[in-house]
Symmetry: none
Subunit: 261 residues, 2 copies
């Protein structure tokens, strides 16, 4: 399946072209087309801001006319903050990505068209496209940076293929089974009983329940359960040792006092 | 419902802080917290790159320690390209936004934490959070710009509120490519010019646009384009025949008149 190309028309800042290339690379897009970039092409500043994502820039094709840039494409979506009067289907970036992926899966060549930083696309540009993509920006601040607009499109293209979970990562590890958890709870509650923690006694059931809910929410692994059992042991035996020492000392003092009297 | 705050730790470039503020404003986030920004705060370059989205910057709070920046928050998600060893749930930006919205709907104060441009977050930072958000970047180019990472989070936060809009098109045959379509448009518009269709002349651009939008929406196949070109030819040559007949008739009448005089 061929990924969509990104077409930037009337881009003003080479930095934005580079930033667009970078985020294209982040999300697996590589084909960049430039229609009348304001400052000409190539521009070293684009490569500088691409931070190493050179290949979309190295392979970028430049066109004077939008029509030529679109000539071989079967489906082109125009991105705009204001769909204006164009009577075209309007998609969110997510819906647009679904359209693009469906078309690409049919073997169609697809593209997404972006206008310049200041003015965006003109109605004549949009009239050359098959649909409009518009990000759900807040009415109070609609001005979306060019590279950010490319980012949303590229991200949604990638998401439209990916399973819900991001690839390349270990999923959350398997939590300990219930027996291991109950063993830990039992140990903890025994120690707390010994320490007189559950007071008054009639509140013990709800206090136990609350503790278990809080700890259970952590979805502890086996290793973490073992670690926490060690923690409980250390705390309780440590406390026991201190108490034993204090008790011994108290007995010694008692004996001393007895001897004195 | 309170929107999540954005926490930037060890941000290096004020331009990126400003770009983050801009895209926060695009998607309805306004609360920005900065933890030890490298170049201090405030920085005029941040406001310059925010392009008018001043309020997140004006209201930004600065902290020396991450713990202090998170003190009042109930749910914090850490964004990172490499979840590393942290045994925390891993979310895509979309799943993370769902988590945040659910928590916010419960009245919780939430935040999303981003690390610095070069090194990202450290394991100790992530350990202060309740989950990890990671964008599904391409393995071949993982380096996501800081403001782009903020953009994805902010966008998904916004999308998590929006109802799903109806989707676009039913299955359709491969549309003609753009060159074929432009050839058809050119033929049609030439013929309409010849016929004096575009009247008054100053309305020609918008009339052309409306025609292209209407025809473009049809996603014509190659066969349909050929058919329609035939239609235009038939109509225009037919008109030519009618004109030729009228002209012949006019000449005949002229001749008649000449003979009478």
């Amino acid at each position: 399946m061929k990924a969509p190309c990104v077409i930037l028309k009337d881009a003003q800042l080479a930095e934005n072209i580079g930033a667009a290339a970078r985020v294209m690379a982040n999300f697996g897009l590589s084909e960049l087309r430039l229609v009348s970039p304001r400052d000409g092409w190539p521009q070293a500043r684009a490569w500088a801001s691409a931070s190493g994502a050179d290949w979309p820039l190295d392979g970028a094709r430049v066109f004077d006319r939008l029509e030529d840039a679109l000539a071989d494409l079967h489906l082109v979506l125009a991105t705009t903050a204001r769909p204006r009067e164009a009577v075209l289907p309007v998609f969110s970036p997510r819906e647009g990505a679904a359209e693009l992926r469906e078309a690409a899966s049919e073997g169609w060549s697809c593209g997404v068209l972006f206008g310049g930083e200041r003015a965006g696309l003109e109605a004549d540009d949009i009239a050359l496209c098959h649909g409009v993509v518009t990000a759900p920006v807040d009415e109070r601040f609609r001005s979306l940076n060019l590279a950010q607009a490319v980012a949303l499109t590229a991200y949604e293209w990638r998401m439209s293929a990916a399973p819900a979970a991001p690839t390349g990562f270990v999923e959350a590890p398997t939590p300990a089974d219930h027996a291991a958890l109950m063993g830990f709870y039992g140990q903890l509650e025994d120690e707390l009983d010994a320490a007189g923690f559950f007071h008054p006694p009639e509140k013990r059931p709800s206090m136990v329940r609350n503790l278990r809910v809080a700890l259970g929410r952590a979805r502890l692994t086996d290793q973490e359960v073992r670690t926490l059992r060690g923690v409980v042991t250390a705390l309780s035996k440590g406390r026991g040792k201190v108490l034993a020492k204090l008790a011994a000392k108290a007995r010694a003092l008692d004996n001393e006092g007895s001897q004195k009297s």
